[in-house]
Symmetry: C2
Subunit: 238 residues, 2 copies
DNA sequence: CGTCAGCTTGACTCATCTCAACTAGGGTGG
DNA sequence: CCACCCTAGTTGAGATGAGTCAAGCTGACG
C-alpha cells in the first residue's frame, strides 16, 4: 500500500543527511555537524493505518517529523464529538510546544513513517542550537497562521466554501511535496473530512457530488480529480 | 472611561521594571539588564476605542504588548464576513511571528494602551537573547493551543455551548489579571462576540437571554454577572 | 430633547443535520 | 472460488438550530 519510498531501510540509523523531507521540515535549519548530532537522537517509527500515534494528555516523551503517510491531529469533546485541527503530511512536525503533555491526539490515517526524537534530548538540543529554536518558532507561528485561517473557515464559511477550501489547501500542500495537483489522493474518510471542516459526513459527500455535477471535480476511488481549479478558487471565497 | 491605572504617566519612558503586566507578558523572561535594553526600545502607544491598531497585510513595523484595555484580533473575508480569532487583554502580545507583514487585523474595542517596539529592533534583541526567543516560542505554542480549543468550539459546539465557553474563558483570563470573576465587564459588542463565536448577534443575544432566564447569568449594562458558574461549566460541555 | 448605536425579541426561512435505506468494494473463511 | 460481511460512501426525506428580516426599546451623547 505504501509507495516504494517507504521501505524500512529508508533511514535506518536516522540518516538525516539523506532525508527526503529535510528541506521542508524543521531540520532544514541545521548545518552538517548539527545534523549529525540530531541523527544520534533519531529513531524510526512506523504506524499502521488507523492506529493511534499519541493521545491528548499523555506524557509527551517524544516529538516526531512525519516522513511518509498522512496523520490526523484532533481533539475530542467528552461526548465523543471530534474536531480535526490539522492533517499532517510528510515534513510536518509533532511536538512544537516541547511541553510535558500532548495537547491533542494523533492517528495515522494511512501507514505513517516518522522520525522520532526523545523529547528531553530534543529539547536539550534546542537549548544548544538557537537557530533550531528559531526554526521551531517559525514553524509554530506558521501553524498559528494556518490555525487562524481554519478558524475563519469553521466560523464563517458555508459547506461548499469549506469543501472547496479544503481541496485547494490540500492541493497546495501536495504540490509543495511534488505530488500531483490534479489527482488528489484522499487517504482520509468522509468522516475525517467532516471532522476537519465542522460538517457531517453526509454533507461532505453531498457537496462532493454537487461539485462533481458542476464538473468542478471528478470523484474517484480514494481521491478526487480537480477539473476546474479556477472555479474551485471562486467557490472557496478566497 | 478608563480605570485610573491607565493614566498617561503609567510608563512614560517605557519603564519596564515597574510594568504592571510584565509578569504575565513575554517580558517576564528577562532579567534586570535585559529589561533595561528592552526599555530603550519601548514607546507608549494609545488607541481610542473602536479604532484600528493594525491591518492584515500591512508591513509589520512594530510589535506590541497590551498594557490596558481590550482589543480584537480578526480576519476578514473579501465579502466582509469577519472572524475574530482572539480578544487581547493586558499582557497579550501582538506580533509573535516577527514576520514582515501582519497576518491579521487588530482593533481597540475600548481604549487601549500598549507598549510598542520597532519590529526590526525587537527582532534583533530576540536574536541576542535566546531565552526571550524561548519565551516567545512558549507564548506562540500557548496561543496555538488556544487556537485549537477555539477550532473545536467553532466546528463542534452548539450556540449555547459556545456562549457558555466564551464566558468561562473570559472569566478565567480576567481572574488571572486579578479582575472580578463574578461581574464580567464586556467591552465588546454582541456583534464582536458573534464574530468570535461564529454566530450572529441575534443568536448571541437570545442565548444570553436564555441563560438569564435559567438564572445562570444576569445580563447587566456592559457586562454580565455569573450567578451559577458550575452550571455554566456543564453547559459549555468541557 | 432628539438622534443613534447597541440590544432584544418575534416571525419566518433555510442550510445543514438526522435518520434511514441502499450500493459498492475488499477481505475472509468455508 | 464463492458467499458473506463489513466498512465506506451515496442519496433521500424530513427535522431543526441558527440565520434573516423586521420592529421596537433604551441609554448615551450632542
Amino acid at each position: 500500500m505504501l509507495p516504494e519510498s517507504r521501505d524500512p531501510t529508508h533511514c535506518p540509523q536516522g540518516r538525516c543527511s539523506v532525508c527526503r523531507v529535510r528541506s521542508v521540515s524543521v531540520c532544514a535549519a541545521l548545518d552538517r555537524s548539527e545534523l549529525d548530532r540530531l541523527e544520534a537522537l533519531a529513531e524510526n517509527a512506523v504506524f499502521a493505518g488507523k492506529t493511534t500515534m499519541l493521545m491528548q494528555g499523555d506524557p509527551a516523551d517524544a516529538v516526531y517529523t512525519i516522513t511518509e503517510g498522512t496523520a490526523r491531529l484532533y481533539r475530542l469533546l467528552p461526548d465523543g464529538r471530534c474536531q480535526i485541527v490539522r492533517f499532517l503530511l510528510p515534513g510536518d512536525f509533532i511536538g512544537l510546544s516541547l511541553s510535558e503533555h500532548y495537547a491533542f491526539s494523533a492517528d495515522a490515517v494511512e501507514p505513517v513513517a516518522a522520525c522520532r526524537f526523545g523529547r528531553s534530548a530534543f529539547s536539550g538540543l534546542v537549548d544548544r542550537m538557537p537557530h533550531l529554536l528559531r526554526r521551531l518558532h517559525e514553524a509554530a507561528t506558521h501553524e498559528l497562521t494556518l490555525a487562524q485561517d481554519h478558524m475563519v473557515l469553521l466560523g464563517r464559511r458555508t459547506a461548499e466554501e469549506k469543501v472547496a477550501a479544503f481541496l485547494l489547501g490540500l492541493r497546495k500542500r501536495l504540490g509543495h511535496l511534488g505530488r500531483s495537483t490534479v489527482m488528489l489522493h484522499l487517504p482520509m474518510t468522509r468522516q475525517d473530512i467532516a471532522d476537519y471542516l465542522g460538517l457531517t459526513l453526509e454533507t461532505v459527500s453531498r457537496t462532493f457530488s454537487k461539485l462533481a455535477g458542476d464538473k468542478v471535480i471528478l470523484v474517484v476511488r480514494n481521491g478526487i480529480q480537480v477539473l476546474n481549479p479556477r472555479r474551485l478558487e471562486d467557490l472557496a471565497a478566497a
